[in-house]
């Protein structure tokens, strides 16, 4: 397919399917090690929390059926796997007759939008700064400024989010405190709505960007240092090519490739970080849905959200793996890497 070696393709596909399978199995297995009936625990919690107890029998039935506690384990497991393939996660307990999938479908676009936006911005800024850190023609002040920006790299986005929220929403009142769009605007493809979404999304995105770009910068710096010493770079310079041309077409083009695979290692952390940012900003995404579900002990939603986020993570790694041979011709002409 598109010149991608089939061994490589099969290898990646197996890894992807196995990831989803193992994650799904873990989510299924964990409640079952609990010594008591998970359905009863959840119902008991709901009752003690003074939550929705009317129709308790229905809920108990639903939960028991969900866990299929009366069937032998392989039947339960089979049913569970089938339900997960068909995105049927049962019905939410907190907002009772709504299927979990409906709730997820409402939240997913917000999370995906914020995630794609912040990852793209981070990747571009991070790699550009990493390249400039090594390039010999970068102006001196930049060589001091960039490394000092690295200090934010290790801080999880939730901490930067709190700080930005306090400065820009509470103190300066430049940005709204919570939510993903204003209460007064009607969702739709109108200019007002888009403006409101951008206004609300700016701080969550910024709090992710300022703490994650450093990961790419540091990686790029290491790669640029090794590329810098290569013969083809020396030759390109000796030929008298423009320094900028050498930087982009010779150095960055070669150094950036391993960065794309580094994405696979980082995406899990990025997603978790974003979930927490959504929670503190009450952004209408999966993070808020998950947090509300934890508060309500709405186990079907917790299970569904966790599964969908893991699926998303595995899928983005898979897509990057598929794109990689298209960007790096060397993969296409050699055997699949181990």
């Amino acid at each position: 397919m598109f010149g991608i070696p089939s061994a490589y393709l099969v290898n990646r596909l197996v890894t992807f399917l196995l990831t989803v399978f193992i994650a799904a199995t873990l989510i299924w297995l964990i409640p079952r090690f609990s010594p008591v009936d998970p359905a009863e625990i959840m119902l008991g919690r709901m009752a003690s929390g003074g939550a929705f107890v009317e129709g308790a029998d229905d809920i108990l039935m639903q939960l028991r059926e969900r866990f299929g506690l009366d069937d032998p384990w392989y039947v339960q497991y089979g049913k569970y796997l089938w339900s997960i393939i068909t995105f049927d996660f049962g019905v939410s307990v907190a907002s009772f007759p709504t299927p979990v999938w409906t709730l997820i479908a409402q939240a997913l676009p917000w999370t995906l939008g914020l995630m794609i936006l912040s990852i793209v911005i981070t990747f571009i800024i991070g790699n550009a700064l990493g390249a400039f850190m090594v390039w010999e023609r970068t102006p001196k002040p930049w060589k001091v400024v960039i490394p000092s920006m690295m200090i934010f790299t290790s801080i999880p986005p939730i901490l930067s989010g709190l700080l930005l929220m306090w400065i820009f929403s509470v103190k300066l009142r430049w940005f709204p405190l919570t939510g993903s769009y204003g209460l007064t605007v009607e969702p739709g493809w109108t200019w007002d709505f888009i403006q409101s979404v951008v206004h609300h999304g700016f701080l969550p995105a910024l709090s992710i960007v300022i703490v994650t770009f450093g990961f790419w910068t540091l990686g790029m710096r290491g790669l640029m240092i090794s590329v810098q010493g290569e013969d083809y770079v020396t030759l390109a310079k000796a030929k008298g090519l423009k320094p900028r041309y050498v930087l982009y077409k010779y150095m960055v083009r070669n150094a950036i490739l391993p960065q794309i695979t580094a994405f696979a290692l980082k995406v899990g952390l990025l997603v978790s970080g974003q979930i927490l940012v959504e929670r503190i900003f009450s952004y209408n995404g999966m993070g808020k849905l998950l947090y509300d579900a934890i508060l309500d002990q709405d186990f079907a939603v917790i299970q569904g959200v966790s599964y969908i986020i893991i699926l998303m993570t595995a899928m983005s790694v898979f897509i990057v793996d598929l794109l990689y041979p298209l960007i790096d011709p060397r993969i296409r002409h050699s055997e699949a890497p181990a």
Binding site: T15, M150, P156, G273, R279, I309, I310
Partner: protein, 308 residues
């Protein structure tokens, strides 16, 4: 100041001999600063327990919402010397919370990372040495597990089981901390296995254990340190994440739990900045220290990075 620290921390054996003291790669300023900050946080926990009344972490043991010393809260109350860092909305002293919470958070990171590393060393060496089916299984398993975000599996776990102890939380996180050391060590073992000195040892009839621990392990030490620190960071991020979602230990103060309480009580809007700000700042300092250590170790194991 750096120089004084440098001299006291210099490993004796390395500083002697034909090397100039300042050429010693372990005297890396980043590493020293990182270790220094981390030791400071640990010291806060140790000295604090001896010098400060840690009973003040209990709900209702102090007046509510007092600001730190030298500030005034919205009700016009000034900070008092009895509670120098202020108090939270449930009547707990923030200094006491930080003294108890910070070492707990570091402990989770260290324990989870240590278990993960030990598992990683065993699996990585097995994969690299035995090869074949074992290698395939371990490699695929590590590739698969590295994609799964630990936070989400642990959210499922803790929402079913409710309260957990600190140690159980560390063990649970450790279940997701073995993948990257396994991959790293496997790759290193594979490349070292072909190197001259290992071949030499094999030819001279050295046992597998000897080759593993006496020939290969010393070369891995900078990588292992780096991997340990990176994993500890990830473990702490995961633990704080769970705590901020309201999961994690419910009765023991942790920094994440303090932030959770603060957000839930609307501390941001009520301008109770010390309540969420101090634990946030301490966590940020912790992460910066871990990053500095990691950067320092990078420069030690890869001399090319040192030039810039």
């Amino acid at each position: 100041m750096t120089e004084v620290t440098a001299q006291t921390q210099a490993p004796e054996g390395e500083a002697k001999g034909r090397f100039n003291r300042f050429d010693n790669p372990w005297l890396n300023p980043k590493l020293i600063w990182g270790v220094g900050i981390l030791l400071g946080i640990i010291l806060l926990g140790v000295l604090g327990r001896m010098l400060w009344n840690t009973e003040l972490v209990f709900t209702g043991s102090t007046p509510l919402r007092l600001p730190p010393l030298g500030f005034e809260n919205l009700r016009g109350q000034p900070g008092v010397a009895d509670y120098p860092l202020g108090t939270d909305g449930a009547g707990r002293d923030l200094l006491a919370l930080l003294i108890i919470g910070a070492p707990n958070t570091l402990m989770i990171g260290a324990v989870a990372s240590l278990i993960g590393m030990t598992t990683g060393i065993v699996l990585g060496f097995s994969a690299g040495f035995i090869g074949g089916r074992v290698d395939d299984t371990i490699r695929i398993l590590a590739d698969v597990m590295i994609t799964i975000p630990p936070l989400l599996i642990l959210v499922v776990f803790q929402s079913v089981y409710g309260d957990v102890t600190l140690l159980l939380m560390a063990f649970l996180i450790a279940g997701f901390m073995w993948q990257s050391p396994t991959r790293l060590i496997r790759a290193q073992v594979l490349s070292m296995r072909e190197s001259g000195y290992v071949k030499m040892a094999q030819l001279s009839g050295a046992s597998t254990a000897h080759i593993m621990f006496r020939e290969m392990m010393p070369n891995l030490i900078p990588y292992l340190f780096g991997s340990f620190i990176a994993n500890a960071t990830t473990a702490i991020v995961t633990a704080v994440g769970l705590e901020v979602l309201g999961l994690g230990p419910q009765r023991i103060p942790t920094l994440g739990r303090v932030i959770y309480d603060a957000i839930n009580s609307g501390a941001l809007i009520q301008n109770l900045w010390w309540w969420w700000g101090l634990p946030t700042a301490l966590l940020a300092l912790m992460f910066i220290a871990l990053l500095l250590i990691n950067l320092g170790l990078d420069e030690i194991s890869n001399p090319r990075l040192r030039k810039i």
